[in-house]
């Protein structure tokens, strides 16, 4: 038997391997990415719901849903990714609801942040901690 280390670690290292990704030093920070979106407004709480699993089943494809009734735009940031910018969703006046769902890759355990801009320019924010684990011992 001659398995590679990646194959044989006992606790399912699919997610673990990504822990070692080098941080991209040139990437913009969460603050730098948020500033142009918020226009300097201090984010409030409430009026935005961010739904994510507590522990990712697969760090490479983590479901995320954000719902912010009345929003004109939603900004999604993964604070612990080498490149924190994930997506900006914009909603036209004809949008029946202001809700977006997608899947994102998370490099490690981190906070995911969603900000919504309302028609009056005010900002609301929600965040969720998603754990990316090597797993394996639940019983």
């Amino acid at each position: 038997m001659n398995l590679s280390r990646r194959d044989t670690l006992m606790f399912g290292l699919g997610g673990f391997a990504t822990l070692a990704l080098p941080g991209a030093l040139s990437a913009a920070t969460v603050e730098e990415l948020a500033a142009p979106f918020t226009g300097g407004a201090t984010p409030g709480a409430g009026g935005i719901t961010l739904t994510m699993p507590e522990i990712a089943e697969n760090g490479n494809t983590v479901p995320v849903e954000v719902d912010a009734p009345g929003a004109v735009a939603i900004l999604l940031l993964a604070s612990g990714n080498p490149e924190p910018a994930v997506a900006t969703f914009t909603f036209g006046p004809a949008a029946a609801n202001q809700r977006a769902a997608t899947r994102i890759r998370l490099a490690k355990t981190q906070d995911v942040i969603a900000m919504a801009k309302m028609a009056d320019g005010s900002i609301v924010q929600a965040s969720a901690t998603v754990k990316v684990t090597i797993g394996g011992c639940g019983g």
């Binding site: 280390r5 006992m10 606790f11 089943e57 697969n58 754990k131 684990t133 019983g139």
Partner: protein, 564 residues
């Protein structure tokens, strides 16, 4: 059937035979032996609805020894509360007399001495007697199974869960939820659910992985005693993380609190009178869920194997924990009026196998299920002079033996054994049969791998598993115990965050400190990776025990715990 007097005389005779000195207070024991089946079943009927809950049987059809944990560390808000209270403190908390039958059933204290007096517990034929007796008193009672039913024994492994499916159908279970069931693969689960089970397989949180849409029946509404009762199923949330994802790639799980709220709202809108959640979340996760999801009357909790003699009240929700391995069945009588739960009466019924008469039909079904494998099951591999148990936050003696077997048979510096909570106990002097070895190792991914890991990787693995136990937010806990180690010692500060709990890793053979960059040979079992190679763990252990003949373990203490 032997009479009570005969039983206790027989039990005492046995204990005198083995009677190691200094274990227990025999005079007191004799005085307290006043157990009958009628007493165990005694219950003043109450209200208009009865629930029966059994969970985490782990395929134990026959009576077993099962020592409750001595160490069950809780952190954050859970600290000092059940189930993180053990031994004499647990007895004090619930007013249990030391050395009483309850003390034996619910705590580890004096386990060996009390076990000799009170005998094995469980056995599905005894459980059947209890179920029938309750149904005789309350024909409308609902029997619910919290899952981890089809896995955990040699016969369940060899029949891919069929023996348990047959037994649970015969017992008249009316709904179940799931965890280890999935380790037979999603194809086998679907086959059983679609063609064999006579009751629904509930899981509001089981979703299609591709479209993230509900994939299984979320709830079932029962009409009983003039009331409409919704039972919502909640499968183990961390299936694809704690167990091999490749075995059920079509499904996604998770706590999905918003989905649970949605289901509660849906059944309430339908006008049900009572909402019950049949959960495999684990005790602390259910406690948190009960505080956040509104409108659940009763949570029947499973997964973390806790036996709690009283319901825990969270807001207006009662949480019932019914133990494991067939040791207990909970009876919950409820007074439901005008769409509200007005009151409850509860009893955690201990299944003392020498006191409760086996149900003859179930006994013969169990014998029939075991018959094809009987010789294999009962083959004696060796004898143990040491009490062999698993449960506890850190190492137990069974895993000390398993870790020794792995290191010796696989020639590794370090061995790892998963911190699962199932696995039965053996008494000093007991034969170790092949079935006993399966009772602590049975699984569909039991290959015993061997490879190299750096010191850094070892620490990362320990940190990751420790965070599954000691994260202060229960929603980030997966419900197992700490990974067991052989050939390695370490210190852990349970109060620290991930990455900073584990220190002072050393090889026990030489005392040498583990270096982050150095590679070590590591062998273990229960890898969640597809294609893991190696002999099956039960064969590794059998080979080791055969060489020893008689197992006598020296106490090991590889883990130094702080931050309590």
């Amino acid at each position: 059937m032997i009479t009570r007097r005969e039983f206790f005389q027989a039990a005492l005779a046995t204990s005198a035979l083995y009677g190691a000195s200094g274990l227990g207070n025999w005079a007191r024991l004799a005085a307290q032996q006043a157990l009958t089946q009628d007493q165990l079943l005694q219950f003043d009927d109450f209200g208009n609805v009865t629930l029966m809950h059994i969970t985490d049987i782990h395929a134990q059809l026959k009576p077993i020894w099962f020592r409750e944990p001595e160490v069950n560390i809780g952190v954050g808000e859970a600290k000092g509360h059940v189930p993180h209270v053990t031994g004499l403190e647990f007895q004090k908390m619930f007013g249990i007399a030391p050395q009483s039958p309850e003390a034996y059933a619910l705590t580890y204290a004096d386990f060996e001495a009390l076990g000799r007096a009170y005998g094995k517990m469980g056995g599905m034929d005894r459980v059947a007697t209890v179920v029938k007796a309750i149904r005789a008193a309350r024909p409308d009672a609902i029997l619910l199974d919290g899952g981890d039913t089809w896995h955990g024994s040699m016969t369940s492994f060899l029949t891919k869960g069929q023996d348990m499916v047959n037994v649970m159908n015969a017992l008249g279970v009316e709904a179940m939820t799931s965890h280890w069931e999935w380790t037979y693969g999603s194809g086998r689960v679907k086959e059983i659910v679609e063609t064999q089970l006579k009751f629904p397989f509930l899981g509001a949180n089981i979703f299609d992985a591709e479209w993230d849409e509900p994939a299984f029946e979320p709830y079932k509404i029962f009409e009983r005693g003039g009331q409409r009762i919704a039972v919502i199923g909640q499968a183990f949330p961390y299936m694809p993380i704690a167990n091999p994802r490749w075995m059920f790639p079509e499904y996604s799980f998770g706590i999905r609190e918003e989905r649970m709220q949605e289901m509660v709202d849906e059944v309430r809108a339908e006008g049900v009178d009572l909402v019950v959640c049949l959960s495999h979340n684990g005790f602390d996760v259910d406690k948190k869920m009960a505080s956040r999801v509104k409108g659940i009357d009763v949570i029947l909790t499973g997964h973390t194997h806790d036996a709690v003699p009283q319901p825990v009240l969270i807001g207006e929700t009662i949480l019932i924990a019914s133990g494991s391995n067939g040791k207990f069945l909970s009876r919950v009588d409820l007074d439901v009026r005008d769409g509200r739960m007005m009151g409850y009466r509860h009893k955690l019924i201990p299944i003392f196998s020498d006191v409760i008469t086996p149900d003859p039909e179930m006994a013969s079904l169990i014998d029939a299920e075991r018959a094809p494998f009987k010789a294999d099951l009962e083959e004696r591999v060796g004898t143990t002079e040491t009490l062999l148990y698993r449960r506890g936050s850190f190492n137990g003696t069974w895993d000390d033996l398993i870790c020794e077997a792995i290191r010796s048979e696989r020639d590794a510096q370090i061995s790892l054994s998963p911190g699962v909570r199932w696995g039965t106990t053996l008494m000093p002097g007991d034969a170790i049969t092949r079935e006993d070895i399966h009772n602590v190792t049975s699984m569909t991914y039991g290959a015993c791998y061997r490879n190299e890991m750096t010191g850094e990787t070892l620490k990362t693995v320990l940190e990751d598993v420790a965070d599954n136990l000691f994260n202060t937010d229960p929603y980030y806990q997966q419900g197992g115990d700490m990974v067991r180690v052989g050939g390695l010692s370490y210190a852990i500060d349970v109060s620290r965050p991930i990455g900073t709990r584990i220190s002072d890793l050393r090889l026990t053979d030489s005392g040498e400190a583990i270096e982050p960059s150095k590679a070590y040979t590591v062998a273990g079992w229960a890898s969640v990776n597809e294609g893991t190679e190696g002999p099956q763990i039960w064969d590794v252990i059998e080979s080791h025990i055969r060489k020893l003949g008689t197992v006598t373990l020296q106490p090991k203490n590889p883990v130094t715990v702080t931050g309590l």
